[in-house]
């Protein structure tokens, strides 16, 4: 019984962006870092904030607020960089805060509602409702796609 539940759930990292909560499968997350010095890289998309020195590895940083065209906010104490590893890329996402690690049952994931109506809908692979929280699952390939 418990096995069955485990098989049908995925572990995700939950983070906050503006007023919404988003989720990324733990399997793609390399780590969560506090904000550090970012070196600007010229002539890149606006949402590419630059690169950081992640323990000797030069890692590009994407500001998710800007990626999703959300209003830009000042970086605060809670601001985090989530290091994502996708295929052969390593990229850091700047998020407002990293909140939680959750197991979401696979059956609670629904396709995205069509009424979201903002640019971010392209990047959504589905939504999950846990208790009263609505988690937006990101489609990482699409988030990272245009620069590939």
């Amino acid at each position: 019984m418990t096995n069955a539940v485990e098989q049908e759930s995925i572990k995700v990292i939950v983070f906050q962006l503006a007023d919404k909560e988003y989720a990324i499968p733990v399997s793609h997350v390399q780590g969560i870092e506090k904000l550090m010095h970012i070196t600007r890289v010229p002539k890149t998309a606006k949402y590419v904030k630059g690169v950081i020195n992640l323990r000797g590895v030069v890692t590009p940083i994407v500001d998710l607020r800007e990626r999703f065209e959300l209003p830009v906010s000042e970086h605060e104490e809670t601001t985090r960089i989530i290091i994502i590893s996708l295929e052969d890329m390593e990229v850091g996402f700047v998020v407002d805060s990293a909140n939680d690690v959750l197991d979401i049952p696979a059956d609670s994931i629904e396709p995205q509602p069509e009424v979201v109506g903002s640019l971010e809908e392209d990047f959504i692979s589905g939504v999950a409702k846990i208790d009263k929280r609505l988690l937006i699952l990101l489609h990482l390939e699409k988030v990272l796609n245009p620069l590939k």
Binding site: H37, T39, R40, V41, P42, K43, T44, V48, G50, V51, I52, N53, G56, V57, V58, T59, P60, E87, D88, M89, E90, V91, L144, L147, K148
Partner: protein, 800 residues
């Protein structure tokens, strides 16, 4: 197990030797009378032969041996060098290379080289190679009733098969006179044969049989597990077969009146020694009946024998002799330079020896007949010294890897003196490099800490450490550098072959072969270069008639040039051929949908030239097997770009083309000048920098919307990095003075305007990863002493 240990070394060294062979062969072709060169080739071939036999690669050893025989004949002026002979030798070297490559790729190095072998054989016998002739002319030595004649390669196959319990038959099949479909019958017979065994040879050749170029009869040599009777019956079942004769093939007979029996390994030692001017004797020693210390006498006899030569075998075995497990008599086989008489006298001097009989060992039948095994002899001479007596139990194992220690030994004796090198796996160098990179970053950190703390002794230590690290770095980097020669040296042979294949006259000039490149790049550029050269030769250089018509010398020239420039190495392939026909290229590109008609109007000549690098492009009207089917050049482009380089083409119709490849040195540690713009730090590779300078605003001039300065009499355009890199400025800078870094790309200069210079530093090149690619004017990043990332400026992108 022992083999694996030496395999890598074997492969590397084989390649070296083959390369040496090719080089010297080319040299020999130019100076056919210089026998010293033949000697060089012979030496390489000989070593290769020994090594491969020891490693158990018989085909390799066999072919090398054949080649060596030809070389030997040339050396002894029995035959004269001619292009035809060299063609065959080159072909052998090609086969050998293929075999070695096969071995390197995990194969067993087997390859069908019978036609080359046959040709070598003919040359050796003083006949020039005429590839079509199948019938061999050597004197038959095998089975009495043999219709077929076997060259030594085939003989080996036969003798080995018999050793492995196969029967070797010579089967003569006669078809009925009224047989209509002779080829079909032949086919059916072969089908039967090949189901039960292997056909080694046929007379007439299979090709001729298939073409029905025979009367009623044909013969095949065949190895099988079946009996003669069965085979006969089976073949008789084929319709229209009138008669089938099956004769057993005899294996070569061994020494005639010998007490000792020699296995093939020992025979080859004897044969080889004979070739080198040694005598082979069989010595029977009889001790007196009252001899008390038989073992001691044996020991003394052996001492004498081993002083003057090598004992190949003894009967009873040495162990038994030492244990006195023999009566009065024992026999040994010895190779020596001494005469029989001398040996006899010497041995007679040992007390209690009653009789010594020295007989010359007959070896006429093995000098040429067992080549596959003979190869072992080269290494075996070394072996024998270490292990004087071979026991009778040790028989056919000769060519198997049992002699692992030998390659090192043989090699040592052949290695050129004064070249003390070791081979290191490139992976280890990579690890070393990575570790060193870590160290460099820490050094940077340490340096900045030391500056902050400003402690005398700390400063001193850091400084000394930096100096040592500098030296260390130079060593590590140079360790990875390899001259492009290692890639270039295969091209002369290739050009030779191509010019013969295509009937074009081509002269290859190599310039700058000593230019060094990182090993990893070297490994990758070989294939692209082969492609480009083939392309130049095939599509570029015209045939002599066409060249004459154009008023060019008949002989086309291909120049292969390598040189350093800045942070890059350039390799150019220049030909004085037809050049690129841009109209044709455009038409083709449009027809293939690579570009549209509209696009084509706005394309520059250079862009059109580079269309030939697009995938799915081929302008050759006739597809030749030389430069592929148009899948090639785009692969070249991709490979070079994956190495961080790029390729460009300059071409003038009827004058020639230059393919220019730019490759990074891929030094992962480079010297840079750190500069500051606003608060951002950028690194400019020192190799691109000519000098730095401070200029006044008034010195800046305007030319066609481009700000320029007069730098030592040259007009140099200014590049404001602030603008290029869109550096955000809080307040506009309004300085009277500007800091300028003068950089170059080839001949062209540019002045990069920055806010200030920070200083020079060694940095570790880091990639920006796979997410950020193709960022304009940024070639990578590095980590500074304070842990922050600085970007490296790609000066080449800033200079048009």
């Amino acid at each position: 197990m022992e083999v694996n240990q030496y395999l890598e070394m074997f492969i590397e060294e084989s390649k070296d030797h083959l390369q040496a062979c090719s080089e010297h062969l080319l040299e020999l072709e130019k100076n056919p009378d210089d026998l010293a060169i033949v000697g060089e080739i012979f030496r390489s071939a000989h070593t290769l032969k020994g090594m491969s036999a020891t490693m158990g690669f018989e085909d390799l050893a066999d072919l090398t041996h054949k080649m060596e025989n030809v070389l030997d004949a040339i050396r002894n002026e029995k035959i004269h060098v001619s292009p035809e002979i060299l063609d065959v030798v080159f072909e052998s070297v090609d086969h050998l290379e293929e075999m070695v490559m096969d071995i390197a790729n995990g194969g067993d190095g087997k390859r069908d080289v019978s036609s080359t072998v046959a040709q070598l054989k003919r040359i050796e016998l003083g006949e020039y190679a005429i590839p079509e002739v199948v019938a061999t002319t050597e004197t038959p030595v095998t089975a009495v009733t043999s219709v077929l004649e076997y060259d030594s390669f085939e003989q080996t196959v036969i003798s080995q098969s018999t050793e492995q319990g196969f029967n070797a038959f010579e089967i003569s099949v006669r078809l009925r006179e009224d047989c209509l479909l002779k080829a079909a019958r032949v086919f059916m017979v072969f089908e039967i044969l090949e189901k039960d065994g292997d056909v080694i040879k046929s007379n007439p050749s299979v090709e001729k049989l298939e073409d029905e170029q025979f009367d009623q009869q044909f013969s095949v040599a065949f190895v099988t597990k079946e009996s003669a009777e069965d085979m006969k019956n089976k073949i008789m079942k084929v319709s229209e077969v009138e008669e089938v004769l099956v004769a057993t093939l005899g294996t070569p007979v061994t020494a005639v009146a010998s007490v000792l029996e020699y296995d093939s390994f020992e025979q080859t030692v004897i044969a080889q020694s004979a070739e080198q001017g040694f005598n082979a004797f069989e010595i029977s020693v009889k001790l007196r009946e009252d001899c008390l210390l038989k073992a001691a006498r044996v020991f003394m006899v052996f001492e004498i024998l081993e002083k003057d030569g090598d004992v190949i075998k003894s009967y009873p075995s040495v162990e038994k002799l030492e244990d006195e497990q023999f009566d009065q008599q024992f026999s040994v086989a010895l190779v020596t330079k001494e005469s029989a008489e001398d040996m006899q006298k010497k041995i007679m001097k040992v007390s209690e020896v009653e009789e010594v009989i020295v007989a010359t060992i007959e070896q006429k039948q093995h000098s040429e007949k067992e080549p596959a095994i003979q190869e072992v002899a080269a290494t075996a001479t070394v072996e024998v010294e270490a292990q004087p007596a071979t026991t009778p139990e040790k028989n056919n194992a000769a060519p198997t890897p049992a002699k692992a220690p030998a390659p090192a030994k043989t090699d040592k004796s052949h290695a050129p003196v004064g070249n003390k090198t070791i081979r290191v796996n490139i992976e280890r160098l990579d690890i070393l490099m990575n570790l060193f990179e870590e160290l460099v970053i820490d050094r940077g950190r340490l340096q900045s800490i030391a500056t902050e703390v400003n402690h005398g002794e700390l400063n001193e230590t850091v400084e000394r450490m930096s100096r040592v690290m500098g030296d260390l770095q130079t060593i590590i980097l140079t360790m990875r550098m390899v001259p492009v020669e290692t890639v270039f040296n295969r091209f002369p042979k290739m050009i030779r072959q191509l010019s013969r294949d295509l009937n074009k006259k081509i002269n290859l000039e190599i310039i700058g072969a000593e230019t060094e490149l990182d090993r990893t790049v070297i490994d990758e550029i070989g294939d692209p270069l082969v492609h480009l050269i083939r392309n130049s030769v095939d599509h570029g250089i015209e045939n002599p008639t066409a060249r004459r018509a154009k008023g060019k010398p008949e002989e086309g020239t291909v120049v292969l040039r390598a040189y350093h420039s800045g942070n890059y190495v350039f390799i150019e392939i220049e030909d004085d051929g037809a050049g690129i026909n841009r109209e044709k290229v455009l038409a083709k590109a449009i027809s293939k949908g690579i570009v549209t008609q509209e696009q084509s109007y706005s394309m520059s000549d250079k862009q059109i030239n580079e269309l030939i690098l697009a995938s799915g492009f081929s302008t050759a009207d006739v597809i030749s097997d030389v430069s592929g089917r148009g899948v090639g050049l785009d692969v070249v482009k991709t490979t070079i770009e994956s190495l961080g380089g790029n390729i460009s083409i300059e071409s003038t119709q009827d004058v020639g083309s230059i393919f220019s490849i730019q490759l990074p040195l891929t030094l992962s540690i480079i010297s840079v000048m750190l500069v500051e713009i606003e608060k951002e730090i950028y690194a400019i590779p020192l190799s691109s920098i000519i000098e730095t300078s401070i200029i006044r605003s008034s010195e800046i001039m305007n030319a066609h919307n481009q700000k320029v300065i007069d730098f030592r009499g040259k007009v140099v355009p200014l590049v404001f990095l602030e603008e290029i890199f869109e550096v955000p400025r809080k307040e506009p800078q309004d300085d009277e003075f500007h800091s300028v870094v003068i950089v170059r790309k080839g001949e062209k200069l540019a002045g990069l305007v920055v806010d200030s210079f920070i200083g020079q530093q060694e940095i570790v090149l880091k990639s920006l990863g796979n997410y950020l690619t193709n960022i304009f004017a940024i070639s990578g990043a590095t980590i500074l002493g304070n842990g922050k990332v600085a970007l490296i400026v790609d000066c080449n992108a800033l200079i048009k």
